[in-house]
Amino acid sequence: MIHVSTTVNGDAHELLCDPRETLLDALRDRLELTGAKEGCGTGDCGACTVLLDGRPVCSCLVLAAEAEGHEVRTVEGIADGEELHPLQRKFIEHAALQCGICTPGILVAAKALLERNPDPSETEVRYWLAGNLCRCTGYDKIIRAVLDAAGEMREAT
């Protein structure tokens, strides 16, 4: 077993992990942060998206041991206590989810986009989220929710 010290959503954690254990499994099974989902396990679907040092990655393709000394952020860290993030509110308003499996990964990826680019075009949103697959919504509502949240966040600042 490998000892891993890492920060998740701002909290320091010490974990003992199998060398083959993915960051996704460590988050879900050891820290009980079950927001990130396993859709494919091979980097194709994005349901497992978390931020590693501020960048979206597929946590199914990161070893838990690689998180040593790095900063991880998950969907659980997006809301401010009971107060939903504008993206989360807009996803509900636009009904941008059905089963919800893809939603945590898309929220994490979309938030990272808006932090870099507060005013993305529809095309930019679609390309940025090309690695987040959704079997239910047909994507349109997701894209509209992200663009609407971006607009609201621009007005608020």
């Binding site: 060398p19 960048r55 041991a65 690695g131």
Partner: protein, 285 residues
């Protein structure tokens, strides 16, 4: 599986040289960990190079070229404006790989050493005339990128050999490069054909060129006849026709669900022509 985190390439090489079972290096893990997860390859020793100091650095070399650390990711190249200004083709080729999430992890060196004939950044690196620094227990050497792949999934690197960096030559005046690939969709797919072109012009005339093709043979090809078609020309219609013919003639593709031999061969000609036009335009800008 033993997970190693050496703090130098010499240590990484020593661990690999001493290993007796299946050994892999871990750069971005977007090939290694897919293979691990799908039970295709479970390494006995996995050697993570990312804790080596400077391994993600992109630095200007004394000769005016660039040194790109083995673990620099797609997004780190894509955010490097000076590098993009000089080698847009290399950067756009790496940027084509996967999604936003994959971009945060994938590397030039992993793309090369995984040995896929369809690896997107490899034709661009070969066209650019890139080399890699290799560290082994016997010492360090520098080899051309085209000398690394030897067949699907295979490289010329021996046990204990690890790549520490990719070197791009000085861009100089009047140079431009470009990479194009064909995929059936607009994102997230494997190249059916890839074409990298790098050239130098003096006025309207091309004075030097390198052309490389991916996914049309067991390894990425450096196409000498395509160079000959370009050099001395002004990229007029007859030069473009000769270029396409040379590219087609070099193809030794397979037929699979992504494309037939005929289709791949035809597309190789089309993409090489288009990439040459882009490179020519960039060289004149």
């Amino acid at each position: 599986m033993r997970y190693h985190t050496p703090s130098s390439f010499e240590d990484a090489s020593a661990i690999a040289a001493a290993a007796t079972g299946v050994t892999r290096f871990l750069a971005g893990g977007t090939d290694v960990l897919v293979q691990l997860r799908s039970d295709l390859v479970t390494p006995d020793d996995l050697i993570d190079i990312k804790r080596i100091a400077g391994v993600r650095d992109i630095t200007r070399r004394d000769d005016g070229g660039w040194r790109i650390g083995a673990a620099a990711s797609g997004v780190e190249l894509a955010e490097h404006e000076a590098l993009i200004a000089e080698w847009p083709g290399v950067v756009e080729a790496l940027e084509l790989i996967g999604s936003t999430q994959i971009q945060a992890r994938c590397t030039l060196v992993g793309n090369l050493c995984n040995g896929s004939p369809a690896a997107d950044s490899v034709p661009a690196m070969i066209a650019a005339g890139a080399t890699v620094n290799v560290v082994s227990p016997e010492g360090a050497r520098e080899i051309a990128v085209e000398d690394v792949p030897t067949g699907p999934g295979m490289t010329s690197l021996g046990p204990g050999e690890v790549v520490s960096a990719v070197n791009l030559p000085p861009r100089g005046e009047g140079g431009g490069d470009a990479y194009l690939r064909f995929i059936p969709r607009t994102e997230m797919d494997i190249a059916v054909v890839g074409a990298g072109v790098n050239l130098v012009r003096e006025g309207e005339t091309i004075t030097a060129a390198r052309v490389a093709l991916g996914a049309v043979a067991p390894t990425v090809l450096l196409v000498e006849e395509a160079r000959a078609a370009l050099v001395g020309s002004t990229l007029d219609d007859s030069a473009l026709a000769a270029l396409a013919k040379a590219a087609e003639a070099a193809c030794r593709p397979i037929s699979d669900k992504r494309g037939t031999v005929e289709f791949r061969t035809h597309v190789a000609g089309v993409l090489t022509r288009r990439a040459a036009k882009i490179a020519y335009g960039r060289a004149g800008a």
